[in-house]
């Protein structure tokens, strides 16, 4: 008996000691669905994955009305006068229509673009120490600099009036490194210097002449995409020749889409004119949290239950639609429903359609060559009117063979025509609110004595259609540089960043 006791004592003590000896490994546990920071950037393969993550951020859905760039495009259009919500539906986006979320400091746009900044800075901090070919590092860095410029440029559209209204006004904080300390708002001059510097770096790093490889697909950033963003930035800065040059470079490899493609639903990145877009697979879309759920009433998403997006009635009726008339027939008339036809309400959009009914996998477009063409036309109108007319006709003849820009001979008239066609062309692609902001700084936009659809400075929705179902559709901001246009900064930033200044 005593022997046994001793054995028991011995074995127990041995176990105690044994456990003590291996305690280090016992308490070391690592996740299976997370990448420890120190492991993420060991090689350029990891750095590439961190870049792909940023590409996925373009369409990452986190809520019914937060699904990346496409949700911000919707916000941009819904805050203008050309896109009208049929009805409140389940209530998504209506607080943007009536400007309450922007004025209450809704956090989404702010924190969305700063995620790009944060991921970009983290990557830039580590990539030089990663093992892998320098060419790969350069390619990744070029794309990262693009995203920095992209984020700052987009933030500047919402949190301050346009650059040319007052370039000394406060923009948004700039971060050159990962930090936990909130920074002060940089003036727009500094912000736009940052943007153009980053774009210059991206151009140089992604230039095929410097050995940059061809991109794998349209979700990657190549030099054409950088030129396209450069054109947008130059347009805001009213550097007309630069805008024309950059837009021309951006679209040189992307022929304008055909009439067939124009009516094919804007859902396939094989489309010849798409410069930059994403392919969203079935498992990366939470189906009702998606662009197409809000747009296409046949999808079974939010558009079906009242959230259908309609075109401003006046704008719609200005689209030539009688092929027997001199004005001809503009094929874009078919982007919207003429009358109530189940499941479409009158004026409901049909431009964006679901790719495969029953599924929500989809390609989405962030940049296409027609936009670049319109940038060139608008820019040229400031220094080369015949050139601008030709640019415009090149696009418009595909839509309406009867089209002619010959009658728009004055600069102002031509600009109004370009803007008018741009509104129709880019409807639903996220430009209207920022164009209103941008035109506040363009004197030609204020005149209203041109025939056709009037281009206002400021927001005038009561004239814009008469689809009255949603009360926000009545919003009017007559002063083109009214404070009420501005997004206010979110409460989290105000509470935890002592260096921040709120918008009025």
């Amino acid at each position: 008996m005593k022997t046994f006791s001793r054995i028991l004592l011995f074995s127990t003590s041995a176990l105690l000691l044994g456990m003590g000896a291996c305690k280090k490994s016992f308490l070391d546990r690592y996740p299976s669905d997370r990448v420890p920071l120190e492991d993420a950037f060991k090689t350029t393969t990891g750095c590439r994955a961190a870049l792909e993550g940023m590409h996925s951020l373009m369409y990452k859905a986190s809520d019914d009305d937060n699904f990346g760039q496409m949700s911000i495009n919707l916000i941009n259009d819904l805050m203008g006068e050309d896109m009208v919500m049929h009805d409140a539906g389940a209530g998504w986006f209506t607080n943007y229509v009536d400007y309450t979320t922007p004025r209450n400091g809704g956090a989404y746009i702010w924190s969305y673009y700063y995620q790009f900044v944060n991921n970009a800075n983290e990557l830039l901090a580590h990539i030089d120490n990663a093992t892998g070919p320098q060419s790969e590092k350069d390619n990744i860095k070029g794309q990262v600099y693009f995203y920095l410029a992209y984020a700052y440029y987009n933030l500047s559209l919402y949190y301050q009036h346009s650059y040319m209204v007052d370039s000394t006004a406060l923009g948004v904080p700039i971060y050159h490194a990962v930090t936990q300390e909130g920074g002060p708002r940089a003036p727009l001059t500094q912000l736009y210097k940052e943007i153009t510097d980053d774009l210059d770096k991206a151009v140089s790093l992604l230039d095929p002449a410097n050995g940059a490889p061809q991109r794998a697909n349209k979700s990657e950033i190549d030099i054409d995409v950088v030129h396209g963003l450069y054109a947008r930035v130059a347009l805001v800065m009213q550097r007309w020749r630069l805008a024309d040059q950059m837009a021309g470079l951006a679209r040189q490899n992307y022929p304008y889409m055909s009439t067939k493609e124009l009516l094919s639903g804007f859902n396939n990145w094989q489309n010849s004119s798409w410069i930059w877009g994403s392919h969203i697979t079935e498992d990366q879309t939470n189906h009702v949290w998606s662009f197409i759920s809000h747009m296409d009433p046949t999808s079974g998403g939010y558009a079906e239950i009242g959230g259908q997006k309609l075109i401003n009635k006046t704008l719609f009726n200005l689209i030539p639609h009688d092929s027997n008339s001199a004005a001809g027939y503009d094929i874009r008339y078919q982007w919207w429903a003429k009358g109530d036809q189940d499941p479409y309400f009158k004026f409901s959009q049909k431009k964006f359609r679901i790719q495969n009914p029953g599924t929500f996998s989809l390609d989405v477009c962030y940049m296409r060559s027609e936009e670049m063409g319109f940038i060139q036309a608008e820019a040229k109108a400031h220094f080369d009117i015949p050139g601008a007319q030709a640019q415009l006709e090149e696009i418009m003849k595909i839509r309406n063979p009867n089209y002619s820009a010959a009658s728009f001979t004055s600069q102002a008239a031509l600009l109004h025509e370009i803007w008018h066609q741009r509104r129709i062309e880019l409807w639903g692609e996220g430009f209207r609110y920022s164009d209103l902001q941008r035109c506040a700084a363009i004197p030609e936009a204020s005149s209203s004595d041109y025939s056709g659809f009037l281009f206002y400075q400021g927001l005038h929705r009561e004239n814009s259609g008469g689809q009255d179902a949603l009360f926000g559709n009545y919003k009017t901001i007559a002063d083109p540089v009214a404070n009420t246009f501005l997004f206010r900064i979110s409460g989290g930033e105000i509470n935890y960043n002592p260096n921040i200044v709120q918008n009025p």
């Binding site: 008996m1 028991l8 004592l9 176990l15 105690l16 456990m19 003590g20 305690k23 280090k24 308490l27 070391d28 546990r29 690592y30 996740p31 669905d33 997370r34 990448v35 920071l37 994955a49 870049l51 792909e52 993550g53 590409h55 996925s56 990452k60 009805d87 607080n95 209450n104 924190s111 700063y114 900044v117 971060y175 930090t179 936990q180 920074g183 794998a216 979700s219 994403s278 079935e282 498992d283 990366q284 189906h287 999808s299 079974g300 998403g301 079906e304 239950i305 009242g306 029953g358 599924t359 009255d468 009360f471 206010r488 409460g491 989290g492 930033e493 509470n495 935890y496 960043n497 921040i500």
Partner: protein, 1060 residues
């Protein structure tokens, strides 16, 4: 005179004693009965001052020989109070009636560790099986609802859901505030709903540091110690059967809402009229609305794309014209006839049936004992189709292999099947959101334009999905779904399989040593399945969707322990008792998760993944959490008068970095049984027990839940770009992140008067938390905007009082009252020094000097009589109508906190012969409650979203009613109805928690039927609530706020208990 009599009695008793001493040995016989008069088998009857004694037989009889000079018997039985009985007349058989130990006494023995309330130096509350039986509960946590120092939430109404627990105030910010659950000595990580209450022998709440520090590193939030039943010595197997059945029904009345369609039309008309006035469509408030504005109204509320419940001249919905509504007043034309009106709540709700059956058998002898049980529950919820089923089985065996070696096994298996629905606060498929918010103009069933219900080909009434263009109907509230239909057509099921096994080997060696090794394996398999049908709702666009996940949690604890209880030298006499324990344990939790989402069904009869055509994603992950602990623990007592306890422990957790993962914790405690002192002898006739005690200790906390298994590690998450792998930044980490600490000082007095007819305890405590773990926010422009840190300190201090008294005690009638009172004050004492201020949500503030959960809100300043604007008072004392300004931090005010000043429970038990009635009241005084549900019902800005409003909204400002109590009704008025103290109410409540009436059948009847015991009872739980506002469950959360979640229910159960 009284004194003289007492003295005389004393002399007489001395005389008797002397005469007894003259004899050599006396035989004493007797019987030990429980409180219901049944004999208790296996009770130890000891002769005080000797080592001899006897056990009772199966009927509770005993016989023993009393040596000279000894005449006091000590009678001990688990679950009953220890009794000392003086044998005054040995020739007469003794009858000893035992009192159940629901008061304070009774030793709880857990695998070698004993908590003896007599020698305990800390604060422990115990609820025994006897108390649990009185309550018709499915969840064991509910048994603690009359215990001082613990706060429970009502737990919601989903059958099987767990209420939350808080011991001595909220002690953490992010870490789990619930106490640690220890079942049979080992930390339990499963759900509380998996424990069958009828298997539980006792449930104890350990509140102080010395008691709780023994049960794992994570005891800083208190410990709930559950001890399950074991077999006891008996001649024949004991079989217990109980069967209960009853009803569950809605406990909470609905808030008063506008439920008349005409009234609803009028209110929305008034909103529109105010809007038209404000926007210049009419110049005087009394002008009739112009037809284009009326057109909007028509489109939005009736006719058009809305619903018209009225018919004028028999034309039905479509033909009705603007004449239906008076364009000046908004009144419905008196000639119009109401075609239909349906109420949603009755369609959703039901009186549920609840059944519970348990069978157990147990037995034991000198060599071994066993306990075996089977339990079955079937609870229907008060919402259609919601239910909970549970099958439990338990086997417990102890075997004495040799006199010095014991082994044992405890196995517990559970199957649970829960059917529920989403209670996401603003989802249209949340039945409570729908029932509360749906405007009264929307019907449950499809109606044609003449108001007749439309029937399908099979003759059943069709549901109204709110998108029927054929009838020109378009519901503004939750179009394309119908919650009544969705409850039927969708499926939200959880199937859980749990297994828990404990094996141990315990041996004695070298005379005074005991060594023990035990191994606990827990296995939990949770299977969640959410199916959304293909015909309507969110699943329609993808032809139905199924979302399934399986989570398997395997958790082992391996523990080695050596106990030394010396019996030599100074310890031989029994005056000094010392026990030293060394303990080491490893705990490893491994969690494996699989998930899949598929869509594209062909027919609603198919609801599993294989029937769906489209893969919408799948995933898997494994997470591990490891904890290792070393413990040394000593107890010492001297002559049962002085008690000392001390412990020191070192715990490591894999949540922290290698440089910060170990924490050291300790505790000391002392107790003094004053009533045992000689100088107290004069008070012994009225003061039966008086003990003072104090303890102090430091404990650790690391339970941050499943989101922070690798809390210290900065990391990226996987976010592929289409089919290319991708990473996105997830979170910062910190090598400095370390254990949250908590110190607890506890001092108290345990007392018993009049032979323990009145017993109780008073405790004072200070519980401080430091290095609190919390997600410290920073500016969102930095990209992530938060980091997990040790941010501050917090203090809870309070007093607890428990008194139990037999107020009346006659032969046939007794009246026992039990009162529990607790007071706790919570305060943040540090927030990274003094400076850090955090706003955890829109209504609270976290700041040094304030309680956790303090409300921080704009101050409502009434209505501007001129404009009807809602006004708030700014910091400078002026009023504003701009909510953006009013809600700036500098203008908000501290508006109290959710914590009650006093919380308590009072249980009165009346027994007359075999009938017993007990009534339990729970109450709280003080504290604030933010009534978010009421706020939702007071939102004019949500007009035309198809919601209804509280009836209070009728007294809103209009140009005709300028001294109204509520601001203007309007449309898109973001500056009206924002969070303010307007929605704060008092949290004070009184609740009739439980009523139990039981009848025990007399023994003489049972003998014939060969039953050991039999009783019948009826019990009701959640009987009635008195609170500040009708329809508000103020116990729904600790932090004093509500959402439209599953209402709690009332239970009425009838049952039979049989002992064979």
């Amino acid at each position: 005179m009284k004194k003289m009599l007492l003295l005389l009695a004393l002399f007489l008793s001395i005389g008797l004693q002397q005469s007894a001493m003259a004899q050599n040995e006396t035989t004493v016989t007797g019987r030990v009965l429980d409180d219901q008069g049944n004999g208790i088998p296996g009770v130890s009857v000891q002769i005080k001052g000797t080592h001899s004694g006897a056990n009772t037989d199966v009927d509770g009889n005993f016989m023993l020989k009393l040596p000279e000079g000894h005449d006091v018997l000590v009678i001990k039985s688990s679950g009953f109070e220890l009794q000392e009985v003086k044998v005054s007349n040995p020739s007469q058989p003794l009858v000893v009636k035992m009192e159940p130990s629901n008061k304070t006494l009774g030793t709880i023995s857990v695998y070698g560790q004993k908590i003896d309330p007599r020698t305990n130096t800390g604060s422990v509350s115990t609820v025994t099986a006897k108390d649990i039986e009185k309550k018709p509960i499915t969840n064991i946590v509910k048994a603690l609802d009359a215990t001082s120092g613990i706060q429970l939430t009502s737990g919601g109404g989903q059958p099987g859901s767990d209420p939350q627990m808080l011991v001595r105030g909220v002690g953490s910010l992010l870490a789990n505030n619930s106490p640690l659950i220890v079942v049979d000595g080992v930390v339990y990580s499963g759900s509380m709903s998996s424990i069958n209450p009828s298997d539980v022998a006792s449930i104890s709440l350990l509140k102080d540091a010395t008691a709780s520090s023994l049960y794992g590193a994570r005891g800083a939030g208190g410990v709930v110690l559950i001890t399950t039943k074991k077999g006891s010595k008996s001649d024949k197997p004991q079989i217990n059967i109980d069967a209960q059945t009853g009803f569950v029904s809605n406990f909470l009345p609905q808030m008063d809402v506008i439920s008349d369609p005409a009234e609803y039309y009028k209110m929305s008309f008034l909103m529109l009229r105010n809007w038209a006035y404000k926007n210049g469509y009419i110049s005087n408030a009394g002008d009739p609305l112009p037809s284009n504005v009326m057109g909007i109204y028509w489109d939005q509320v009736i006719g058009g794309r809305g619903y018209n419940n009225f018919s004028l001249n028999g034309k039905g919905a479509i033909e009705s014209s603007y004449n239906l509504i008076d364009p000046v007043t908004g009144d419905v034309n008196p000639d119009a006839k109401l075609m239909y009106h349906e109420d949603w709540l009755p369609e959703l709700q039901r009186t549920g049936l609840r059944q519970q059956y348990n069978v157990s058998t147990s037995n034991g002898n000198d060599k071994s004992n066993y306990y075996f049980s089977l339990g079955y529950n079937n609870d229907q919820g008060i919402v259609q189709y919601s239910s909970f089923q549970r099958v439990t089985s338990k086997l417990n065996v102890d075997a004495h292999i040799t006199p010095w070696l014991t082994t044992g096994l405890d196995v517990y298996g559970v199957y649970e099947d829960t059917r529920s629905f989403t209670t996401q606060s603003n989802a249209y498929i949340n039945p409570f959101f729908t029932a509360q918010m749906m405007a009264p103009i929307y019907p449950v069933h499809l109606h044609d334009t003449l108001g007749n219900i439309v029937y399908g080909p099979d003759g059943t009434a069709l549901y109204d999905m709110g998108t029927n263009m054929q009838y020109n109907q378009f519901r503004k509230f939750g179009a394309n779904t119908n919650i009544v239909a969705a409850l039927q057509a969708d499926d939200h099921t959880d199937k859980n399989y749990s297994f828990r096994g404990i094996t141990y080997l315990e041996g004695k060696f070298l005379k005074d040593f005991t060594a023990r090794v035990d191994y606990t394996l827990e296995f939990f398999n949770y299977n969640n399945s959410v199916y959304q049908n293909m015909l309507f709702g969110d699943g329609e666009g993808v032809d139905g969707i199924i979302n399934q996940s399986a989570l398997t949690n395997t958790n082992y604890t391996f523990r080695q322990r050596i106990v030394w209880e010396p019996s030599f030298g100074p310890f031989a006499s029994g005056d000094n008792t010392l026990a030293l324990t060394l303990d080491h344990e490893n705990n490893l939790m491994t969690q494996q998760n699989y998930s899949l989402v598929r869509s594209g069904f062909t027919d609603p009869i198919f609801q599993q993944g294989d029937a769906a055509a489209v893969d919408k994603g799948s995933g898997s992950s494994i997470d591990q959490l490891a904890i290792e602990s070393y413990l040394a623990y000593a107890t010492y007592d001297f002559r049962k008068k002085y008690f000392l306890k001390a412990s020191i422990r070192r715990d490591g957790s894999s949540r922290f970095s290698p440089s910060a993962r170990w924490g050291n914790f300790w505790s000391v405690g002392a107790g003094w049984m004053m009533s045992e002192e000689n100088f107290m002898s004069s008070t012994r006739d009225w003061l039966s027990e008086l003990k003072v005690k104090a303890s102090y200790g430091i404990q650790g906390k690391e339970d941050l839940g499943s989101n922070y298994y690798y809390a210290w590690l900065p990391n990226y998450y996987f976010s592929p770009n289409a089919t290319t792998p991708g990473y996105l930044f997830n979170t910062y980490g910190s090598n400095d992140l370390h254990w949250e600490g908590s110190y607890m000082f506890d001092a108290g007095i345990d007392f018993g008067f009049l032979n323990n007819r009145v017993t109780g305890s008073v405790d004072y405590y200070r519980k401080g938390s430091y290095d609190l773990l919390y997600v410290k926010p920073f500016a969102p422009s930095t990209g992530i905007g938060a980091i997990l840190s040790n941010v501050g300190s917090m203090l809870n201090s309070g007093v607890e009082l428990t008194v139990n008294a037999d107020i009346l005690r006659t032969r046939d009638f007794t009246w026992n009252a039990e009162l529990h009172l607790s007071h706790n004050k919570n305060q943040m004492t540090k927030m990274q020094g003094d400076s850090l201020v955090i706003y955890p949500n829109g209504v609270t503030i976290l700041k040094k000097g304030l309680a956790r959960g303090t409300f921080f809100l704009p101050k409502y300043a009434g209505v501007d009589p001129k404009t009807g604007d809602e006004l708030w008072e700014l910091a400078d004392g002026t009023d504003t109508n701009d909510y953006n300004v009013a809600s700036l931090p500098e203008n908000k005010r501290i508006m109290g906190d959710p914590w009650p000043d006093v919380e308590g429970a009072l249980i009165n038990t009346f027994s007359y012969k075999n009938i017993s009635l007990s009534v339990q009241l729970n109450f709280a005084i003080g504290g604030k409650f933010y009534d978010a549900n009421y706020q939702l019902l007071m939102q004019p800005s949500n007009a035309f979203s198809g919601q209804t409003w509280s009836t209070d909204i009728i007294d809103s400002w209009t140009p005709e009613n300028t001294d109204a109590s509520l601001p203007r009704l309007g449309i898109g008025e973001a500056s009206i109805g924002g969070a303010s103290d307007r929605f704060l109410i008092s949290r004070t409540f009184l609740k009739i928690q439980n009523i139990n009436l039981s009848y025990t059948l007399p023994e003489r009847w049972l003998k014939r039927a060969d039953f050991r015991s039999a009783s019948v009872f009826v019990a009701a739980d959640n009987v009635y609530l008195f609170a500040a506002r009708k329809g508000v469950d103020v116990e729904t959360s600790f932090f004093g706020s509500n959402s439209l979640s599953y209402y709690p229910y009332r239970t009425v159960m009838f049952g039979v208990k049989l002992g064979l």
